[in-house]
Structures are given as C-alpha cells and as structure tokens.
Amino acid sequence: MTGDHQTLALLLFSAFVAVTLAITTWVSRGRQGSADEFYAGGRLFSPMENGFAIAGDYMSAASFLGVTGLIALFGYDGLLYSVGFLVAWLVVLFLVAELVRNCGRFTFADVVAARMREKPVRIAAGTSSVTVCVLYLVAQMVGAGSLVALLLGGTNGAARTWTVIGVGALMVVYVSLGGMRATTWIQIVKAVLLLSGAITLTALVLARFHGDIDQLLRTAAERSGHGDAYLAPGLKYGADWTARFDFISLGLALVLGTAGLPHILSRFYTVPTARAARRSAIWSIGLIGSFYLMTIVLGLGAAALVGSDAVRASHASGNTAVPLLALDLGGGAGSTGGTVLFAVVAAVAFATILAVVAGATLASSASVAHDLYASLRRPGARQRSEVAVARVAAVGIGAVAIALSLLASDLNIAFLVGLAFAVAASANLPVLLYSLFWRNFTTRGAVWSVYGGLVPALALVVVSPVVSGSPDSIFPGVDLQYFPLENPGLVSIPLGFLAGWIGTVTSREVPDAARHAETEVRSLTGAGAA
C-alpha cells in the first residue's frame, strides 16, 4: 500500500475522532452525572434516533469486514451470517424489546431481579453480561487490528498492537466522559457513515456489472475458483458432519443471541415508552436488513472483482475483502479514485469499530456498576457513586479487552462475534424469556439458567478446536480439544434453558405471585415503568 492511502485514511479517521470527541464534550457539558443520564441518556431519544443508534451498535466491523470476507471466500456459506443476523431481530421485536423497556431501568438484569431475590440474580446476570460484552469487544478490536495491518502493509505487529490500545483508550474516553448520550450520538453518526459507505460501494459494484445480478453471480463463482459450488451451501460447512453441525450451531446462536446482547437491550432504555422501543426496533430492522442485503453484494463483488485468492492472500480469513474491493472499484492501486475510496472505507470501518466498542463498553460498565458492584457492596451507596464506579469499570474492561484482543488477533472476526452470540443466547436469553413468560420461575431457576448456559458455553470453547488442537488454533502447540464444534450454541443454548427449568422445578421456593403480576402488568402496559 502506498503512503497516500495511509495519510488520507488517517486524516479522515482523525476527523471522525475529532467530531466524536466534540460530540462527547458537547453533550456532557453541564450535566450532572445521574444514573438515568449516564446509562440511559435521559431516556428521551426519538424512535428514529434510537433506531439508527441500534443499527450503529449492531452493524459491527464484524459484519462489514468479516461477513463480506466470508462471502468473498466461501460464497453462500458466508450468507448464513447475514440471514441469521437479521432474522434474530424478530426475536428481539416480538419477545423482548417492549417488555424489557417496560420492566427494566438500566440493564437486563433489572428485568430478572424484579421478580427474584435480587442479589444472586444480579451477580449471575451481571457476570454473564460482562462476559458477553468482553467477547464482543475482542471481536471488534481484532477487526481494528487487521484493518491497520492492511493499511500499513503486511503484518506490522507493533502498529497492530498500538491500534488496539488506541481504540481501547478512545472508547474509554467516550464512555466514561460521555455516557449513553455521547455513545448514542456516536452510533448515529457511524450508522449514517457506514450505510452511506455500503450504499456507495454497492452501487459501484452493481454499476460495474450494469445491474446484471446474474452476471455478478457468475463472475463471482468463476473467480472464486470453486465454480457453481460457490453459489450453493457446503463450501465451508459441508465437508463432514462435524462441519455441518457447526453450521447449525452457529445458525442457532445467531438467531437467538441478539436478544441476549446486553448492549442491544440497554439501547431500549434510551426511549421514553415501549411503543417508542418497538418503533426503534422497526427502524433498526429496516436499516439492518438493507445493510445485510448490501453485504451480500459486496462479498460477491469482492469475489468477482478482486478474486478470492487475492482476498485470501491479504488476510487468511478474509477480513480485508471490502477495503480491497474499494481499491479496485476506485480504479485500482495507485489511482486517485482507488486511494480515496480505500481511505474512505478504512475510515468508515474504524468509525464502526469505535462506535460498537463504545456501546459494548458502556453496557458492560453498567453491568459492573449497577449489577455487580451494587449487589456486592454496601447497599446504601449513593447513585452518584454508582456512576463513578461505572466510569472506572469502563477503564478496567478496556484493559481486559485490549489484552484478549492481542491474543486472538488472527481469528476471523465474524466467527468471534458468533461466539459472543452463542454465549449471549445460552446465558442471557433463557433467563430473560423465563422471567417474562413463566409464572412459576424462581430465583434458583434464574441463577441456574444463567450459569447453566454460561459455564458450558465457555467450557466448550476452551476444549474446542478454536483454542487448541488444530493448526488454526490460538495455541496450536497444545491439545486440549475434546469438543469438535467451533461454536458451542447447539449444546449450550438448550443447556441454559434446561438448567433454568430444572432449577425451578427442584426449588422449594414458592414463586411470588404478586411480583409476577407486577412484571406481567408492567411488561405489557408500561404501568410504573421508569
């Protein structure tokens, strides 16, 4: 890559950072740091604003870079991610968005804790929220690392490390100074940038093929080196039954995971009513759906125009397919158009990473302060100090995420996100659904359901081929592999539901009818909602 790319991309990116820092300062001026303000941005965002912010929170670098990369390399099998990421929103819209808005205040643990003995439930739900957020953060920061490696040419270890650290430091600044209000505006700006970038590239790809989708598909299949197999399922996940089950496991995790992602759930608290929460979910489904349709075109375009081999040569798991595509669409390496487009795309991807990372950091610091700290420390702590804890927690989580990202820097980021989704679907979704819909659910059921999903999900990853026992593992030299699937969802999601059920039916605790009534009435009508 030439110096022009770098300079221009760095300039654009610095502009984004400057704008977002200005937003952070602007929105946080003169606000006293109340909990409502810090965690929920005052709850007065409009559905459209929140819809864009949710889309900005959700359309991560993993989708923009990772999914397009998978489509470029494996064709149809990459498309599963796009479909799963979108269909998952129906679970959010139908079962979760409005009810969670009505029942909770800041975190999803609020919903569960309202019916149960507060302390054990909060500790369990807080722990799993933080775990999911950290996994998600790692995926995004690995994305930032590979983007920089591409930008600076080759695998420049030091640059990669410093980028990851820089991204981590920036997100801590946004979150701890600006809270939810700043995070929301950053996500809105980013969603607009990302969608404009995707629309531009999609239009250019389609223009290149004169709008002939059939031609695009044929060329992509041809240049992928796989022929017609590229357009059918099975290239990545069809080799044997292990791979097939991995595919099903991933599909399950994607569709059920979104509704358990803490940073998505906490976004619904930023609007005033359940109806506004529903309308923001609808906005985001529209935006996210269009975006994932475009990722398909971009992935196919990268295969057709850049070629799967060139994509693979740049990054083994395809994370750099879109920037390469942009370079080609602009006129190729060395041309002005190519330089500009490449720089724009790189800057947009950076912006994406920063915004998503800020959202996940905010959600996890909220869990630490509101759920874990508030349960573990003296009960009389003032709200003011809870926000202070959240600001400090953001720094700690940033540090952990940076360290883990440096370890995992060679994994495909869409795959890493798949892991975060699997953990969210196993640990968070069962307890949330049981609390909202099951009259006899008890405290023990809630606690078992969280740990019964969280522990197997993490344990299965540790003994999976991701960590050890295969050439692509994090520790290729060690062999701890006992579980064949890369994604634990197929086993751990049913376990989470099962554990919650067993915990409930075996406990002698009598379910509190009045608090169930309160949850039910509040969730469906909004009476007494914050």
Binding site: L79, W89, E98, A232, G234, G238, G251, R515, A517, T525
Partner: protein, 160 residues
C-alpha cells in the same frame, strides 16, 4: 363490562398524538373498526377500595381488560415466533443436509439456496410489518388505558 372511555374521564382522547398512526380495516379478526374499544375497563367502579401496590398489580392482572391485552399479544406473538423460527431452522438444516437440493438452479445463476436466503429477508420484513400493525391496532390503546388506570391507583395508594 364498561364501554371504553366510560370511566376514563376522557383522559385518553382519540386525537391524542399517541394514536397518530391509527389505521383501521385490514387484519381485523373481528371486523370492528375500532378494535381496542372492545377491551373492557380495568378499574373497579368503587373508587373507595384500594390495596397495597402488590394488590393493585394482582387485581389488574386478574382484570378482564388485562387478560384481553395479554391474550391478544400472545395469540399473535407465539404463533409468529413458531413460524419464523421453524422456517429459519428448516432453512439452516436444509442448507447443511441437502446442499444438492439447494444448489438446483432456478433461473440463470440463481439457485434455490439464493431464493431461500432472500425469502428469509422478505419474511422478516413482512413479519415486522405485521407485528407493528397488530400492536398498533389491537394492543396500544388498551395497554395505554391500563397503564394510566394502574398508575392512578398506585399514586392514590402512595398518597394514602
């Protein structure tokens, strides 16, 4: 059973901006034009009787108005979830177990797999639209009414 607005004292007027997008006609199971009006009133006639917050919630939960809202919500949502979840699972399982079937060409380079994938996008958009419409026409008005009534009772209780 009371008529809608009967005991509400006109707090919730049909021209309330809350109802900005109220439409009527399509998708009405019972064919009424103002569907939410069919929901009975939640509040007891006797204003003198109140309880603690827990009792108020229990009472509202038992009220026919709330039961109606809840069953309308569940009657739409549970079958809806069953439909899209099994359609999605069928799609994923077919893609893995019967790739040959999915690879069958339909028109040009477009095969069954591509159509099924786009079908998932389409069904998601359609269900989103149907849910929004159902909630707006069949639930929102009654839920809001319940909310005000319940909160009024709660406020009265806390002032006591």
């Amino acid at each position: 059973m009371e008529k809608y607005d009967g005991g509400g004292g006109g707090r919730v007027r049909p021209d309330d901006p809350w109802y900005d997008a109220l439409a009527s006609g399509w998708g009405e199971l019972d064919g009424t034009t103002a569907p939410a009006a069919a929901v009975p009133h939640a509040r007891r006639e006797s204003a003198g009787r109140t309880g603690t917050a827990a009792e108020i919630y229990l009472e509202v939960q038992r009220s026919p108005a709330f039961q109606e809202v809840r069953s309308r919500y569940r009657r739409f949502v549970f079958p809806g979830v069953a439909v899209f979840f099994s359609w999605y699972l069928a799609y994923v399982v077919t893609a893995t177990t019967a790739p040959d079937l999915m690879a069958r060409p339909v028109a040009g380079a477009v095969n069954i797999a591509m159509l099924a994938g786009l079908g998932q996008f389409l069904s998601t958009f359609l269900l989103t639209w149907a849910y929004a419409r159902h909630a707006r026409l069949r639930r929102d008005r009654a839920a809001l009414e319940l909310r005000w009534n319940t909160q009024e009772e709660l406020t009265r209780e806390s002032e006591r």
